[in-house]
Protein backbone atom coordinates (compact mmCIF):
# COMPACT_ATOMS: atom_id res chain seq x y z
CA UNK A 1 0.00 0.00 0.00
CA UNK A 2 2.59 2.43 1.01
CA UNK A 3 4.58 1.51 -1.98
CA UNK A 4 1.64 1.94 -4.32
CA UNK A 5 0.80 5.27 -2.75
CA UNK A 6 4.28 6.55 -3.09
CA UNK A 7 4.59 5.49 -6.69
CA UNK A 8 1.46 7.40 -7.53
CA UNK A 9 2.67 10.31 -5.50
CA UNK A 10 5.98 10.39 -7.32
CA UNK A 11 4.27 10.22 -10.68
CA UNK A 12 1.87 13.00 -9.76
CA UNK A 13 4.68 15.01 -8.34
CA UNK A 14 6.85 14.67 -11.37
CA UNK A 15 3.97 15.63 -13.57
CA UNK A 16 3.67 18.78 -11.53
CA UNK A 17 7.02 20.24 -12.44
CA UNK A 18 6.32 20.58 -16.09
CA UNK A 19 2.99 22.22 -15.57
CA UNK A 20 3.74 24.42 -12.60
CA UNK A 21 6.05 26.82 -14.28
CA UNK A 22 3.87 29.85 -13.78
CA UNK A 23 1.44 29.18 -10.95
CA UNK A 24 2.17 29.00 -7.26
CA UNK A 25 0.92 25.94 -5.50
CA UNK A 26 -2.04 26.56 -3.26
CA UNK A 27 -0.97 24.41 -0.38
CA UNK A 28 -4.14 25.23 1.53
CA UNK A 29 -5.94 22.73 -0.69
CA UNK A 30 -3.99 20.06 1.06
CA UNK A 31 -5.27 20.86 4.50
CA UNK A 32 -7.69 18.51 6.17
CA UNK A 33 -11.27 19.73 6.35
CA UNK A 34 -10.95 20.75 9.98
CA UNK A 35 -7.75 22.74 9.50
CA UNK A 36 -7.60 26.48 10.06
CA UNK A 37 -6.22 28.39 7.14
CA UNK A 38 -3.60 30.94 8.02
CA UNK A 39 -3.09 32.40 4.59
CA UNK A 40 0.43 33.73 5.09
CA UNK A 41 1.45 34.97 1.70
CA UNK A 42 4.87 34.29 0.31
CA UNK A 43 6.64 37.43 -0.83
CA UNK A 44 9.88 38.86 -2.18
CA UNK A 45 11.68 41.38 -0.02
CA UNK A 46 12.38 44.92 -1.16
CA UNK A 47 15.06 47.04 0.43
CA UNK A 48 14.05 50.10 2.38
CA UNK A 49 15.10 53.43 0.94
CA UNK A 50 18.85 54.00 0.92
CA UNK A 51 20.29 55.55 4.05
CA UNK A 52 23.79 56.67 5.01
CA UNK A 53 24.63 53.61 7.11
CA UNK A 54 23.97 51.09 4.35
CA UNK A 55 27.17 49.41 3.17
CA UNK A 56 27.71 47.64 -0.15
CA UNK A 57 30.59 45.15 0.04
CA UNK A 58 32.19 43.95 -3.19
CA UNK A 59 33.81 40.51 -3.04
CA UNK A 60 35.80 38.99 -5.92
CA UNK A 61 35.52 35.63 -4.12
CA UNK A 62 39.11 34.48 -4.35
CA UNK A 63 39.97 31.89 -5.53
CA UNK A 64 36.66 31.41 -7.35
CA UNK A 65 36.89 34.72 -9.14
CA UNK A 66 34.35 33.92 -11.85
CA UNK A 67 31.64 34.31 -9.18
CA UNK A 68 31.93 37.81 -7.67
CA UNK A 69 29.39 38.93 -5.12
CA UNK A 70 28.03 42.11 -3.56
CA UNK A 71 26.76 41.97 0.02
CA UNK A 72 24.34 44.71 1.08
CA UNK A 73 24.55 45.41 4.78
CA UNK A 74 22.52 47.63 7.10
CA UNK A 75 25.51 48.96 8.96
CA UNK A 76 23.44 50.31 11.80
CA UNK A 77 21.83 46.93 12.45
CA UNK A 78 24.65 44.59 11.45
CA UNK A 79 22.23 42.91 9.09
CA UNK A 80 22.60 41.42 5.61
CA UNK A 81 19.66 42.60 3.52
CA UNK A 82 20.57 41.44 0.03
CA UNK A 83 23.21 40.21 -2.39
CA UNK A 84 24.08 40.63 -6.05
CA UNK A 85 25.63 37.84 -8.12
CA UNK A 86 28.42 38.97 -10.41
CA UNK A 87 31.04 37.53 -12.74
CA UNK A 88 34.81 37.77 -13.13
CA UNK A 89 36.43 40.52 -11.07
CA UNK A 90 33.33 42.72 -11.12
CA UNK A 91 33.43 46.41 -10.34
CA UNK A 92 30.58 48.17 -8.60
CA UNK A 93 29.05 51.64 -8.55
CA UNK A 94 26.06 53.30 -6.93
CA UNK A 95 23.81 55.92 -8.46
CA UNK A 96 24.25 59.20 -6.52
CA UNK A 97 20.78 58.73 -5.03
CA UNK A 98 21.36 54.97 -4.68
CA UNK A 99 18.26 54.27 -6.74
CA UNK A 100 20.33 52.11 -9.07
CA UNK A 101 23.26 49.78 -8.50
CA UNK A 102 25.71 48.85 -11.22
CA UNK A 103 28.00 45.87 -11.72
CA UNK A 104 30.71 46.25 -14.35
CA UNK A 105 31.13 42.65 -15.34
CA UNK A 106 32.79 39.99 -17.45
CA UNK A 107 31.55 36.49 -18.16
CA UNK A 108 32.53 33.55 -20.29
CA UNK A 109 29.69 31.47 -21.68
CA UNK A 110 31.27 28.32 -20.20
CA UNK A 111 32.48 29.70 -16.90
CA UNK A 112 36.19 29.97 -17.62
CA UNK A 113 35.99 29.58 -21.39
CA UNK A 114 33.74 30.03 -24.39
CA UNK A 115 32.52 33.42 -25.52
CA UNK A 116 33.55 36.39 -23.39
CA UNK A 117 31.07 39.15 -22.76
CA UNK A 118 31.57 42.44 -20.93
CA UNK A 119 28.69 44.61 -19.83
CA UNK A 120 27.29 46.75 -17.06
CA UNK A 121 24.30 45.32 -15.25
CA UNK A 122 21.76 47.85 -13.96
CA UNK A 123 20.00 46.77 -10.76
CA UNK A 124 17.09 48.53 -9.15
CA UNK A 125 18.43 49.78 -5.82
CA UNK A 126 15.50 48.49 -3.79
CA UNK A 127 14.12 45.42 -5.58
CA UNK A 128 17.59 44.40 -6.79
CA UNK A 129 15.88 43.34 -10.00
CA UNK A 130 18.00 43.45 -13.12
CA UNK A 131 16.88 46.29 -15.36
CA UNK A 132 19.43 46.10 -18.16
CA UNK A 133 22.72 44.68 -19.35
CA UNK A 134 24.57 47.33 -21.35
CA UNK A 135 27.42 46.00 -23.48
CA UNK A 136 30.96 47.24 -23.07
CA UNK A 137 32.22 46.48 -26.58
CA UNK A 138 35.81 47.41 -25.70
CA UNK A 139 35.90 45.10 -22.68
CA UNK A 140 37.11 45.98 -19.21
CA UNK A 141 40.33 46.23 -17.25
CA UNK A 142 40.65 42.91 -15.39
CA UNK A 143 42.28 43.45 -12.03
CA UNK A 144 41.59 42.78 -8.38
CA UNK A 145 38.80 45.33 -7.84
CA UNK A 146 39.66 48.91 -6.96
CA UNK A 147 37.10 51.65 -6.66
CA UNK A 148 38.53 54.15 -9.08
CA UNK A 149 38.59 51.72 -12.02
CA UNK A 150 34.85 52.19 -12.44
CA UNK A 151 32.67 55.08 -11.33
CA UNK A 152 29.72 57.24 -12.16
CA UNK A 153 29.52 60.98 -12.81
CA UNK A 154 28.22 62.99 -9.84
CA UNK A 155 24.95 63.68 -11.68
CA UNK A 156 24.42 59.96 -12.25
CA UNK A 157 24.36 60.39 -16.00
CA UNK A 158 27.42 58.47 -17.17
CA UNK A 159 29.03 55.25 -16.03
CA UNK A 160 32.76 55.21 -16.60
CA UNK A 161 34.75 51.99 -16.95
CA UNK A 162 38.51 52.01 -17.21
CA UNK A 163 40.10 49.82 -19.83
CA UNK A 164 43.60 48.65 -20.73
CA UNK A 165 43.42 46.42 -23.77
CA UNK A 166 46.11 47.40 -24.54
CA UNK A 167 45.60 51.14 -24.91
CA UNK A 168 44.23 52.98 -21.89
CA UNK A 169 40.79 54.47 -22.17
CA UNK A 170 37.49 55.00 -20.38
CA UNK A 171 34.31 53.42 -21.72
CA UNK A 172 31.31 55.70 -21.30
CA UNK A 173 27.78 54.35 -20.80
CA UNK A 174 24.77 56.65 -20.67
CA UNK A 175 22.50 55.59 -17.80
CA UNK A 176 19.43 57.28 -19.25
CA UNK A 177 19.81 55.84 -22.75
CA UNK A 178 21.26 52.61 -21.30
CA UNK A 179 23.77 52.63 -24.08
CA UNK A 180 27.52 52.56 -24.64
CA UNK A 181 28.54 55.95 -26.03
CA UNK A 182 32.21 55.41 -26.82
CA UNK A 183 35.65 55.48 -25.22
CA UNK A 184 37.67 58.43 -23.97
CA UNK A 185 41.37 57.97 -24.65
CA UNK A 186 43.61 58.60 -21.64
CA UNK A 187 47.03 57.45 -22.88
CA UNK A 188 49.36 56.34 -20.10
CA UNK A 189 46.87 57.13 -17.33
CA UNK A 190 44.62 55.21 -14.98
CA UNK A 191 42.01 55.67 -12.21
CA UNK A 192 38.81 57.60 -12.78
CA UNK A 193 37.86 60.63 -10.69
CA UNK A 194 34.63 62.02 -12.19
CA UNK A 195 33.92 65.52 -10.93
CA UNK A 196 31.15 66.73 -13.23
CA UNK A 197 28.62 65.26 -15.62
CA UNK A 198 31.13 65.61 -18.45
CA UNK A 199 34.51 65.71 -16.75
CA UNK A 200 36.97 63.37 -15.07
CA UNK A 201 40.52 63.53 -13.86
CA UNK A 202 42.96 60.63 -14.08
CA UNK A 203 46.39 59.92 -12.65
CA UNK A 204 49.19 59.29 -15.13
CA UNK A 205 52.24 57.09 -14.88
CA UNK A 206 54.57 60.08 -14.90
CA UNK A 207 52.85 61.72 -11.94
CA UNK A 208 50.82 64.19 -13.96
CA UNK A 209 47.07 64.66 -13.69
CA UNK A 210 45.03 64.54 -16.88
CA UNK A 211 41.61 66.22 -16.83
CA UNK A 212 39.28 65.23 -19.64
CA UNK A 213 36.10 67.03 -20.55
CA UNK A 214 33.74 65.61 -23.17
CA UNK A 215 30.81 66.87 -25.16
CA UNK A 216 27.67 65.07 -26.27
CA UNK A 217 29.56 63.49 -29.15
CA UNK A 218 32.31 62.40 -26.75
CA UNK A 219 34.72 64.85 -28.32
CA UNK A 220 37.25 65.69 -25.63
CA UNK A 221 39.21 68.65 -24.46
CA UNK A 222 42.03 67.89 -22.06
CA UNK A 223 44.13 69.69 -19.52
CA UNK A 224 47.27 68.29 -17.98
CA UNK A 225 48.72 69.36 -14.65
CA UNK A 226 52.45 68.84 -14.21
CA UNK A 227 53.70 66.13 -11.90
CA UNK A 228 52.10 66.50 -8.48
CA UNK A 229 53.83 63.55 -6.84
CA UNK A 230 57.01 61.55 -7.30
CA UNK A 231 55.87 58.60 -9.42
CA UNK A 232 59.21 56.83 -9.02
CA UNK A 233 59.74 57.06 -5.33
CA UNK A 234 56.52 57.96 -3.58
CA UNK A 235 53.43 57.19 -5.66
CA UNK A 236 49.91 58.03 -4.61
CA UNK A 237 47.78 55.05 -3.68
CA UNK A 238 44.97 54.07 -6.05
CA UNK A 239 42.37 54.67 -3.41
CA UNK A 240 41.87 58.26 -2.37
CA UNK A 241 39.53 60.21 -0.12
CA UNK A 242 37.16 61.52 -2.75
CA UNK A 243 34.08 63.72 -2.72
CA UNK A 244 32.93 63.77 -6.31
CA UNK A 245 30.08 66.20 -5.66
CA UNK A 246 32.43 68.84 -4.29
CA UNK A 247 35.25 67.82 -6.66
CA UNK A 248 37.53 67.38 -3.68
CA UNK A 249 40.17 64.70 -3.41
CA UNK A 250 42.91 63.81 -0.93
CA UNK A 251 45.50 61.44 -2.32
CA UNK A 252 47.84 59.65 0.05
CA UNK A 253 51.30 58.47 -0.93
CA UNK A 254 53.17 55.31 0.09
CA UNK A 255 55.25 57.40 2.49
CA UNK A 256 52.24 59.04 4.08
CA UNK A 257 52.03 62.38 2.32
CA UNK A 258 48.64 63.85 1.55
CA UNK A 259 48.04 65.78 -1.65
CA UNK A 260 44.70 67.57 -1.67
CA UNK A 261 43.16 68.91 -4.82
CA UNK A 262 40.14 70.90 -5.88
CA UNK A 263 38.86 69.32 -9.08
CA UNK A 264 35.63 71.28 -9.17
CA UNK A 265 36.70 73.42 -12.11
CA UNK A 266 38.07 72.51 -15.52
CA UNK A 267 41.53 73.37 -14.26
CA UNK A 268 42.31 71.58 -11.01
CA UNK A 269 43.94 73.35 -8.10
CA UNK A 270 46.43 71.01 -6.49
CA UNK A 271 47.67 71.74 -2.99
CA UNK A 272 51.11 71.31 -1.46
CA UNK A 273 51.78 67.88 0.04
CA UNK A 274 51.68 67.52 3.78
CA UNK A 275 52.58 64.51 5.88
CA UNK A 276 50.31 62.35 7.98
CA UNK A 277 53.31 61.62 10.12
CA UNK A 278 55.04 63.59 12.81
CA UNK A 279 58.73 63.03 13.41
CA UNK A 280 57.72 60.77 16.26
CA UNK A 281 55.30 58.80 14.10
CA UNK A 282 58.04 58.31 11.54
CA UNK A 283 60.46 57.18 14.20
CA UNK A 284 57.91 54.63 15.33
CA UNK A 285 57.60 53.37 11.76
CA UNK A 286 53.98 54.29 11.10
CA UNK A 287 52.84 54.13 7.51
CA UNK A 288 49.54 54.06 5.58
CA UNK A 289 48.60 50.72 4.10
CA UNK A 290 45.88 48.30 3.12
CA UNK A 291 43.60 48.02 0.12
CA UNK A 292 40.86 50.65 0.26
CA UNK A 293 42.94 52.41 2.88
CA UNK A 294 41.59 55.95 2.91
CA UNK A 295 38.21 57.64 2.89
CA UNK A 296 36.69 60.92 3.95
CA UNK A 297 33.71 62.25 5.82
CA UNK A 298 32.51 64.63 3.16
CA UNK A 299 30.43 67.06 5.28
CA UNK A 300 33.33 67.79 7.63
CA UNK A 301 36.28 67.12 5.28
CA UNK A 302 37.76 64.67 7.75
CA UNK A 303 40.20 62.09 6.36
CA UNK A 304 40.37 58.50 7.69
CA UNK A 305 43.47 56.43 6.93
CA UNK A 306 44.46 52.85 7.83
CA UNK A 307 47.85 52.90 9.51
CA UNK A 308 50.39 50.26 10.51
CA UNK A 309 54.02 50.07 11.49
CA UNK A 310 56.27 48.77 8.75
CA UNK A 311 59.04 49.55 6.28
CA UNK A 312 58.62 50.73 2.69
CA UNK A 313 56.87 48.25 0.39
CA UNK A 314 54.42 47.20 3.10
CA UNK A 315 51.80 49.38 1.43
CA UNK A 316 49.28 46.55 1.31
CA UNK A 317 49.68 45.52 4.93
CA UNK A 318 46.42 45.82 6.90
CA UNK A 319 46.01 48.73 9.30
CA UNK A 320 46.02 48.40 13.08
CA UNK A 321 44.66 51.88 13.62
CA UNK A 322 42.61 54.43 11.75
CA UNK A 323 43.99 57.93 11.98
CA UNK A 324 41.61 60.81 11.54
CA UNK A 325 42.75 64.15 10.11
CA UNK A 326 41.18 67.49 9.43
CA UNK A 327 41.38 67.77 5.65
CA UNK A 328 41.52 71.56 5.88
CA UNK A 329 44.30 71.95 8.42
CA UNK A 330 46.14 68.61 8.32
CA UNK A 331 45.73 68.32 12.08
CA UNK A 332 45.35 64.81 13.43
CA UNK A 333 42.03 64.64 15.28
CA UNK A 334 41.93 61.07 16.50
CA UNK A 335 43.45 57.61 16.49
CA UNK A 336 40.95 54.76 16.44
CA UNK A 337 42.44 51.52 17.69
CA UNK A 338 41.03 48.65 15.65
CA UNK A 339 39.90 45.51 17.42
CA UNK A 340 41.05 43.57 14.37
CA UNK A 341 43.41 44.84 11.70
CA UNK A 342 41.68 45.91 8.51
CA UNK A 343 42.39 46.04 4.78
CA UNK A 344 39.61 48.41 3.73
CA UNK A 345 37.45 51.08 5.29
CA UNK A 346 34.46 53.26 4.52
CA UNK A 347 32.46 55.79 6.45
CA UNK A 348 28.82 56.82 6.57
CA UNK A 349 28.23 60.36 5.33
CA UNK A 350 25.74 61.36 8.03
CA UNK A 351 26.22 63.65 11.01
CA UNK A 352 27.02 60.81 13.41
CA UNK A 353 29.18 58.67 11.21
CA UNK A 354 30.05 55.01 11.59
CA UNK A 355 33.35 53.64 10.42
CA UNK A 356 33.17 50.32 8.58
CA UNK A 357 36.32 48.19 8.39
CA UNK A 358 36.93 44.99 6.44
CA UNK A 359 39.14 42.53 8.28
CA UNK A 360 41.08 39.60 6.90
CA UNK A 361 39.15 37.02 8.95
CA UNK A 362 37.05 38.11 6.97
CA UNK A 363 34.53 40.19 8.87
CA UNK A 364 33.04 43.65 8.80
CA UNK A 365 33.75 45.48 12.05
CA UNK A 366 31.86 48.71 12.63
CA UNK A 367 32.90 51.55 14.95
CA UNK A 368 31.21 54.71 16.10
CA UNK A 369 33.48 57.55 15.03
CA UNK A 370 32.37 59.70 17.96
CA UNK A 371 33.94 57.49 20.60
CA UNK A 372 35.88 54.90 18.59
CA UNK A 373 33.81 52.14 20.21
CA UNK A 374 32.89 48.99 18.33
CA UNK A 375 29.28 48.86 17.18
CA UNK A 376 29.37 45.28 15.96
CA UNK A 377 31.03 42.60 13.88
CA UNK A 378 29.59 40.52 11.05
CA UNK A 379 31.13 37.61 9.13
CA UNK A 380 30.33 36.90 5.50
CA UNK A 381 32.15 35.82 2.37
CA UNK A 382 35.68 34.58 1.78
CA UNK A 383 37.49 37.62 0.45
CA UNK A 384 35.48 40.89 0.56
CA UNK A 385 37.60 43.70 -0.85
CA UNK A 386 35.74 46.97 -1.28
CA UNK A 387 33.21 48.91 0.80
CA UNK A 388 30.78 51.46 -0.59
CA UNK A 389 28.39 53.61 1.45
CA UNK A 390 25.38 55.54 0.31
CA UNK A 391 26.51 58.92 -0.99
CA UNK A 392 30.24 58.34 -0.62
Amino acid sequence: MERAFLSVAVAALLGTFAAASTAFADETKALPDDAKLMGEQHSIAILSKPHPKRVYVLEPVFPHIVASKVWIIEGDKQELVGTLSGGYLSNFALAPDNSQLYLFDTYWSKGTRGTRSDFITFFDGQTLDIKADVDLPKGRFLVVPKKQNADITPDGRYLLSYNLAPSTSVSVVDTTERKYKGDLEIPGCGLIFPTAGNRLSTVCSDGTLLTVKWDAALKTTTHRDGPFFDAENDPVFEHAAFDKKKGRVHWVTYDGNIISADLSKDKPVIGKPWSLLSAEDKAEGWRPGGWQLITMHQPTNRIFVLMHKGPKWTHKQPGDEVWVFDGNTGKRLDRIHLKEHATSLAISQDAEPYLFTQTEKPSLVTYNVADGKEVGEMAFGISPFLLFTAGD
Partner: protein, 178 residues
Amino acid sequence: MVMQVIDKLFERMSRRTAQKMSRRNFVATLGAALAGASMLPVLPVARKAQAAEDPGVEWAKRVGAQTTDPKACNYWRYCSSDGYLCSCCGGGPATCPPGSTPSPTSWVGSCLNPDDGKMYLIAYRDCCGKDSCAQCNCLGTAGEMPTYRPQLNNDIIWCFGGSSMVYHCSSAAIVGQV
Protein backbone atom coordinates in the same frame (compact mmCIF):
# COMPACT_ATOMS: atom_id res chain seq x y z
CA MET B 1 -5.73 24.99 -12.58
CA VAL B 2 -3.30 22.13 -12.97
CA MET B 3 -2.07 22.78 -9.47
CA GLN B 4 -5.56 22.54 -8.11
CA VAL B 5 -6.03 19.18 -9.78
CA ILE B 6 -2.77 17.99 -8.37
CA ASP B 7 -3.71 19.30 -4.98
CA LYS B 8 -7.03 17.51 -5.10
CA LEU B 9 -5.21 14.38 -6.14
CA PHE B 10 -2.87 14.63 -3.22
CA GLU B 11 -5.67 15.43 -0.88
CA ARG B 12 -7.65 12.46 -2.08
CA MET B 13 -4.63 10.20 -1.98
CA SER B 14 -3.77 11.34 1.47
CA ARG B 15 -7.18 10.55 2.81
CA ARG B 16 -7.46 7.27 1.01
CA THR B 17 -4.02 6.20 2.00
CA ALA B 18 -4.56 7.32 5.55
CA GLN B 19 -7.56 5.06 5.71
CA LYS B 20 -5.73 2.06 4.31
CA MET B 21 -2.56 2.48 6.31
CA SER B 22 -2.56 2.59 10.04
CA ARG B 23 -2.68 6.21 11.00
CA ARG B 24 0.53 5.94 12.89
CA ASN B 25 2.26 4.35 9.96
CA PHE B 26 0.95 7.01 7.61
CA VAL B 27 1.99 9.88 9.76
CA ALA B 28 5.36 8.33 10.36
CA THR B 29 5.93 7.83 6.65
CA LEU B 30 4.85 11.25 5.59
CA GLY B 31 6.30 12.85 8.65
CA ALA B 32 9.61 11.25 7.98
CA ALA B 33 9.29 12.31 4.40
CA LEU B 34 8.66 15.91 5.28
CA ALA B 35 10.79 16.47 8.33
CA GLY B 36 14.33 17.11 7.31
CA ALA B 37 13.52 17.07 3.64
CA SER B 38 14.53 20.21 1.86
CA MET B 39 14.31 21.74 -1.55
CA LEU B 40 11.35 19.53 -2.34
CA PRO B 41 8.48 20.32 -4.67
CA VAL B 42 4.88 20.84 -3.77
CA LEU B 43 3.78 17.91 -1.69
CA PRO B 44 0.68 19.25 -0.08
CA VAL B 45 -0.43 16.61 2.28
CA ALA B 46 -2.67 16.77 5.30
CA ARG B 47 -1.07 15.89 8.59
CA LYS B 48 -2.21 15.94 12.16
CA ALA B 49 0.06 16.27 15.12
CA GLN B 50 0.84 12.87 16.56
CA ALA B 51 2.93 14.08 19.42
CA ALA B 52 5.27 11.24 20.41
CA GLU B 53 5.65 9.81 16.92
CA ASP B 54 5.98 12.99 14.94
CA PRO B 55 9.43 13.94 13.62
CA GLY B 56 8.35 17.60 13.76
CA VAL B 57 7.70 17.31 17.47
CA GLU B 58 10.81 15.25 17.99
CA TRP B 59 12.83 17.90 16.13
CA ALA B 60 11.33 20.73 18.18
CA LYS B 61 12.33 19.00 21.41
CA ARG B 62 15.79 18.01 20.27
CA VAL B 63 16.83 21.44 18.96
CA GLY B 64 14.90 23.48 21.52
CA ALA B 65 12.71 25.12 18.90
CA GLN B 66 12.06 28.84 19.45
CA THR B 67 9.82 31.47 17.90
CA THR B 68 11.89 34.64 18.29
CA ASP B 69 14.96 34.33 16.06
CA PRO B 70 14.26 33.33 12.44
CA LYS B 71 17.98 33.52 11.70
CA ALA B 72 18.75 30.51 13.89
CA CYS B 73 18.58 26.91 12.72
CA ASN B 74 16.22 26.03 15.56
CA TYR B 75 13.53 28.57 14.60
CA TRP B 76 10.33 26.53 14.85
CA ARG B 77 9.29 26.69 11.20
CA TYR B 78 12.51 25.12 9.97
CA CYS B 79 11.73 21.62 11.19
CA SER B 80 11.87 20.32 7.61
CA SER B 81 14.22 22.88 6.04
CA ASP B 82 17.67 22.25 4.67
CA GLY B 83 19.95 24.84 3.14
CA TYR B 84 20.80 28.51 3.59
CA LEU B 85 18.11 30.39 5.50
CA CYS B 86 16.53 33.20 3.49
CA SER B 87 16.07 35.00 6.81
CA CYS B 88 19.82 35.47 7.00
CA CYS B 89 20.11 36.75 3.44
CA GLY B 90 17.71 39.66 3.26
CA GLY B 91 14.52 37.64 3.20
CA GLY B 92 12.43 36.14 5.93
CA PRO B 93 10.79 32.89 6.89
CA ALA B 94 8.18 33.54 4.20
CA THR B 95 10.06 36.01 2.06
CA CYS B 96 12.69 35.66 -0.64
CA PRO B 97 15.67 38.03 -0.49
CA PRO B 98 15.45 40.97 -2.90
CA GLY B 99 15.97 40.03 -6.52
CA SER B 100 15.53 36.30 -6.03
CA THR B 101 12.39 34.47 -7.05
CA PRO B 102 10.45 31.81 -5.18
CA SER B 103 10.27 28.49 -6.95
CA PRO B 104 6.73 27.72 -8.07
CA THR B 105 7.23 24.25 -6.65
CA SER B 106 7.41 23.72 -2.91
CA TRP B 107 7.30 20.98 -0.34
CA VAL B 108 5.34 20.89 2.87
CA GLY B 109 6.25 20.08 6.43
CA SER B 110 4.46 20.09 9.73
CA CYS B 111 6.16 21.89 12.60
CA LEU B 112 5.38 22.38 16.27
CA ASN B 113 5.01 25.95 17.48
CA PRO B 114 6.37 25.73 21.02
CA ASP B 115 4.41 28.82 22.12
CA ASP B 116 0.94 27.40 21.53
CA GLY B 117 1.89 23.73 21.33
CA LYS B 118 0.08 23.36 18.03
CA MET B 119 1.22 21.93 14.71
CA TYR B 120 1.34 24.09 11.60
CA LEU B 121 1.61 23.18 7.97
CA ILE B 122 4.62 24.92 6.46
CA ALA B 123 5.27 25.44 2.76
CA TYR B 124 8.97 25.38 1.94
CA ARG B 125 9.71 27.33 -1.20
CA ASP B 126 13.24 27.74 -2.42
CA CYS B 127 14.34 31.14 -3.60
CA CYS B 128 16.21 30.87 -6.89
CA GLY B 129 18.06 32.89 -9.48
CA LYS B 130 21.15 34.00 -7.55
CA ASP B 131 24.31 32.31 -6.40
CA SER B 132 23.98 30.60 -2.99
CA CYS B 133 23.37 33.17 -0.30
CA ALA B 134 25.95 31.33 1.80
CA GLN B 135 24.67 32.38 5.24
CA CYS B 136 23.08 30.24 7.98
CA ASN B 137 23.59 26.80 6.55
CA CYS B 138 21.08 24.65 8.42
CA LEU B 139 21.19 21.03 7.42
CA GLY B 140 18.89 18.35 8.81
CA THR B 141 18.65 14.74 7.73
CA ALA B 142 15.74 13.41 9.78
CA GLY B 143 13.57 11.50 7.35
CA GLU B 144 15.81 12.27 4.44
CA MET B 145 15.92 9.64 1.70
CA PRO B 146 18.15 8.91 -1.32
CA THR B 147 17.56 10.62 -4.66
CA TYR B 148 15.78 7.61 -6.15
CA ARG B 149 12.99 8.89 -3.91
CA PRO B 150 13.41 12.50 -5.04
CA GLN B 151 10.51 14.00 -3.15
CA LEU B 152 12.25 13.04 0.09
CA ASN B 153 15.79 14.07 -0.76
CA ASN B 154 17.36 17.30 0.38
CA ASP B 155 20.35 17.43 -1.97
CA ILE B 156 18.33 18.15 -5.07
CA ILE B 157 18.11 21.69 -6.45
CA TRP B 158 14.38 22.23 -6.22
CA CYS B 159 13.98 25.29 -8.42
CA PHE B 160 11.91 23.39 -10.99
CA GLY B 161 9.51 25.48 -12.98
CA GLY B 162 11.01 28.79 -11.92
CA SER B 163 12.98 31.32 -13.86
CA SER B 164 16.30 29.73 -12.92
CA MET B 165 17.72 26.48 -11.58
CA VAL B 166 20.27 28.40 -9.51
CA TYR B 167 19.57 27.86 -5.81
CA HIS B 168 19.81 30.89 -3.53
CA CYS B 169 18.15 30.03 -0.18
CA SER B 170 15.30 28.27 1.61
CA SER B 171 12.13 29.88 3.01
CA ALA B 172 9.18 28.62 5.06
CA ALA B 173 5.63 30.07 4.99
CA ILE B 174 2.77 29.10 7.28
CA VAL B 175 -0.09 27.62 5.30
CA GLY B 176 -2.44 26.50 8.04
CA GLN B 177 -2.94 24.93 11.41
CA VAL B 178 -3.47 21.20 11.60
